[in-house]
């Protein structure tokens, strides 16, 4: 299939970029058992002292200006890392700011502003900052900036998006001229990964006004910011990564309409585009001037069956619906193959803890009929809420409706506007769709979405056994046991939880072929939103 070929090509390209010294270093570290690639990162902290991505192999070209389009923009656009909530924001934040750590392509975290990131007990973390880092306004980076940047998330007035995570911080204190300590309420091995998210990027101490200015340490300085219109960044000559960045200027815009985004890419008005539709890939690749970059991710759109509502609280109904999911068709028709079949749990096959012994749930109308009959719901009419906000959910619902007719029940599709979906519909109806972004750590993913008291326990699932396993896994030192626990949890979700996850969707970005230095980082499109420091424009 074309898509396989493409993937291979992409991998090949990536391999090229990462040949040489950097690749060798990683390999040696891996051999030493210190790097856990593509994982929930429980690696010893001193490994983070290594700088990755230091010297790209191909000769980068300096200079040039590109325009990059994400899939949204509005007056809600922000320069405040704490408020960043959409892809456009993430890109903008990573353009202007740096974090203590940053994501790499193997789903791990590399040190960034933190030179070292160490902990004995995974509860008290000691951080030594990189020296000689300056903010865009010339001020030196100090531990006080970091303390301020982390603790402001706990201030309700800041209305931070990361407040639930920041709640784990017990104390953040300066311990030396360039060092500080983060004390957590409970151990968490994933802290370095969590701090790589854009929310925890470092701002200058005392900054409260983010409406017009952004004073960060990132690769680009803010030149222009008009919410809902554009953001322009110009090269930061004092960026702390020597030799970077490459471009003189990046203009960031949002183009909500996908076909406009593709057209803009093909007509050369933009050089990179986030989130292309699988259906557009053929056109883009045929153009000769542009290409696509595919990022396999654990992004998924799931059907939520609330456990506190009738009839979705009936376990047989849940199973019936899971058997009605025509995963192959969804993967093939809806995503043109740019998706990986999922097994009703949120762990992607590429994950190291993926339970590959759990049998794949098939599309099986007979079994669906059986369970439906057992639930006494044959012939029932159930409304299902979908929205363009949850990518692909509208078409998935249409397919489900067809399966439903075969099985002997009717799903009434209720498409509601993307506008207000998350606050007003998500998790509020017996049957509706959700859309969950990739999370690096399974602990974070399960804690946020599947634990009985998780803030976004989408289906209202309550399984004490799962909760116990989750708590145990967090503190489990033995890798094999830990893996077994995560396997068990996947099975529990797949068998009992009121969510059905048909496929994981691959992220597709479009880019002008002159753009070089790009590779997938699975936390999001456009290299985990952090393309700005990596790419250059070939002549």
């Amino acid at each position: 299939m074309t898509n396989k070929r493409l993937q291979a090509a992409a991998m090949h390209k990536v391999a090229e970029q990462h040949s040489g010294s950097r690749r060798a270093l990683l390999k040696s570290l891996g051999a030493a058992g210190l790097v856990t690639a593509a994982s929930g990162l429980a690696l010893p902290a001193h490994v983070l002292a290594q700088i990755s991505n230091e010297q790209p192999p191909a000769k980068p070209r300096y200079g040039g200006r590109i325009r990059v389009a994400t899939n949204s923009m509005s007056t809600k656009d922000t320069l405040d890392p704490a408020k960043a909530s959409l892809s456009t924001d993430y890109v903008r934040i990573y353009m202007v700011y740096s974090g203590l750590t940053q994501f790499n392509r193997e789903l791990g975290a590399d040190p960034a502003l933190a030179e070292t990131f160490e902990s004995e007990n995974q509860q008290d973390w000691h951080i030594k900052l990189r020296g000689g880092v300056t903010f865009h306004d010339g001020k030196d980076l100090t531990p006080q900036d970091v303390v301020y940047s982390l603790l402001r998330h706990k201030d309700p007035a800041v209305t931070s998006r990361a407040a639930p995570i920041a709640a784990q911080f017990e104390k953040v204190v300066v311990t030396g001229p360039m060092s500080l300590r983060i004390s957590l309420h409970a151990p968490n091995a994933d802290l370095p990964v969590m701090l790589a998210s854009s929310s925890f990027c470092i701002v200058a101490d005392g900054t409260t006004d983010f409406s017009q200015t952004a004073n960060g340490t990132g690769p680009y300085r803010l030149k222009e910011f008009s919410p809902g219109v554009r953001t322009v960044g110009e090269k930061n000559p004092n960026f702390w990564k020597p030799g970077k960045p490459y471009l003189d200027e990046i203009e960031l815009v949002g183009i909500a309409d996908e076909s406009s985004r593709v057209n803009a890419l093909l007509s050369g008005d933009i050089q990179m585009a986030l989130a292309l539709n699988p259906r557009s890939t053929k056109r883009v690749r045929r153009s000769g001037t542009a290409d696509i970059m595919q990022t396999e991710s654990s992004l998924y759109t799931n059907l939520i069956m609330r456990q506190d509502a009738y009839p979705t609280n009936n376990p047989d109904f849940v199973l019936a619906v899971k058997y009605m999911m025509n995963r192959e068709l969804i993967q093939r028709a809806l995503f043109r193959g740019y998706a990986t079949i999922a097994n009703d749990h949120p762990v992607a096959p590429s994950h190291k803890y993926y339970n590959h012994e759990l049998p794949q749930r098939p599309y099986d109308i007979d079994r669906a009929k059986y369970h439906l009959k057992k639930a006494g719901l044959t012939g029932a009419r159930v409304p299902v809420f979908t929205s363009p906000a949850a990518e692909g959910s509208v078409d998935m619902a249409a397919l489900l409706q067809l399966s439903g007719i075969e099985t002997g029940m009717h799903f009434g599709i209720n498409r509601v506007p993307a506008d207000g979906y998350w606050s007003n519909h998500w998790m509020k109806h017996p049957l509706g769709f959700g859309n969950i972004n990739p999370r690096v750590s399974l602990d974070e993913l399960f804690s946020l979405f599947y634990k009985s008291d998780a803030p976004w326990n989408e289906s209202g699932w309550n399984n004490p056994q799962f909760d116990q396993l989750l708590a145990a896994a967090r503190g489990e030192g033995d890798e094999a046991k830990r893996k077994q626990m995560y396997w068990d949890m996947q099975e529990l979700i797949s068998e009992h939880c009121g969510v059905s996850i048909p496929v994981f969707m691959n992220l597709i970005d479009g880019y002008d072929k002159r753009i070089k230095g790009n590779f997938p980082i699975p936390t999001g499109g456009l290299m985990g939103y952090s393309f700005a420091e990596y790419v250059w424009l070939d002549a």
């Binding site: 076909s259 068709l329 093939r332 028709a333 979908t386 078409d395 619902a397 249409a398 207000g420």
Partner: protein, 274 residues
């Protein structure tokens, strides 16, 4: 039939096309070879004349079936909405015309206010508030185009209200209701019919605009505008999935106007709303 015979050629063409589309709208769902939501082919955007008469759409559904199924939305919602908009607009205009200047002023200002709210944004708010459904789409489009109808009907009604025969009825001591319904209304019906045709087109276009914003009829159902919208990515390769529904919309709106133009003998019509 006499009416038909007396029409100019363009009117006959319009009438035939309208009849054709109304037929499709009524019987289309039964004539469709496939279910409108069934994915029948792996290949998307297939051209005309393959296994599927009008090719396949963006996920491999049968375009022919989807058009047969979707036409009824593009015919009946605008038909009803335009009828609602024109009738309520006319009734309010009649009331306004026979009421005192103060009531008239208040109603007119209120209508001005409604006109100035962009219809797409109004729809966005209403659909966000109540969720999309055919009755709601009807209500929204009717409300959006009612003030325009009102403006025209009021202008006509005020003219008629100054005619001597209305004065005669006034001197008889007739009630306002009688003046409005029996004396004025029959004389503004004809121009309002023309307005109705215009409004029909506006509703068709508003519906397709709404589908662009993702606010149209509930999937898997799709009106013709939604078909154009959902298959727009096939435009570059000239997919029939996007071109045929667009042509269908064009022929429907043109046909309705040709028909109505010929019914009023190509006469002029008064100012229009938004």
């Amino acid at each position: 039939m006499n009416v038909f015979k007396s029409m100019p050629l363009s009117g006959k063409l319009g009438a035939l096309l309208v009849a054709f589309w109304v037929f499709v709208a009524i019987f289309g769902p039964w004539l469709a070879p496939h279910s409108a939501s069934e994915i029948v082919a792996y290949d998307v955007f297939e051209p005309i004349g393959g296994d599927y008469v009008l090719g396949t759409d963006y996920i491999g559904r049968d375009v022919f079936s989807r058009i047969l199924d979707g036409t009824r939305f593009t015919i009946f919602i605008p038909l009803l909405a335009a009828a609602l908009a024109c009738s309520t607009g006319t009734l309010i205009a009649l009331f306004s015309a026979v009421s005192g200047p103060r009531t008239d002023e208040v109603i007119s200002r209120f209508m001005d206010a409604l006109i100035s709210i962009p219809s797409k944004i109004f729809s966005l708010v209403m659909i966000a508030a109540f969720g999309s459904s055919v009755p709601l789409l009807l209500t929204i489009t009717a409300i959006s185009y009612m003030p325009g109808s009102f403006r025209i009907a009021r202008a006509l009604a005020v003219n008629v209200a100054n005619m001597d025969f209305v004065t005669v009825a006034r001197t008889r001591g007739e009630s306002r209701l009688y003046l409005a319904v029996k004396e004025i209304l029959p004389n503004i019906l004809h121009p309002m019919l023309a307005d109705f045709g215009l409004r029909f087109v506006f509703v068709v276009l508003l519906l397709s605009s709404l589908s662009f914003l993702g606010l149209g009829v509930q999937p898997p159902e799709a009106d013709l505008g939604s078909l154009v919208r959902e298959n727009i990515s096939g435009l570059a390769e000239g997919a029939p999935a996007v071109i045929i529904p667009a042509i269908a919309i064009a022929t429907i709106t043109i046909a309705v106007n040709l028909l109505i133009d010929s019914l009023r003998g190509g006469a002029t019509y008064a100012a229009r709303g938004k």
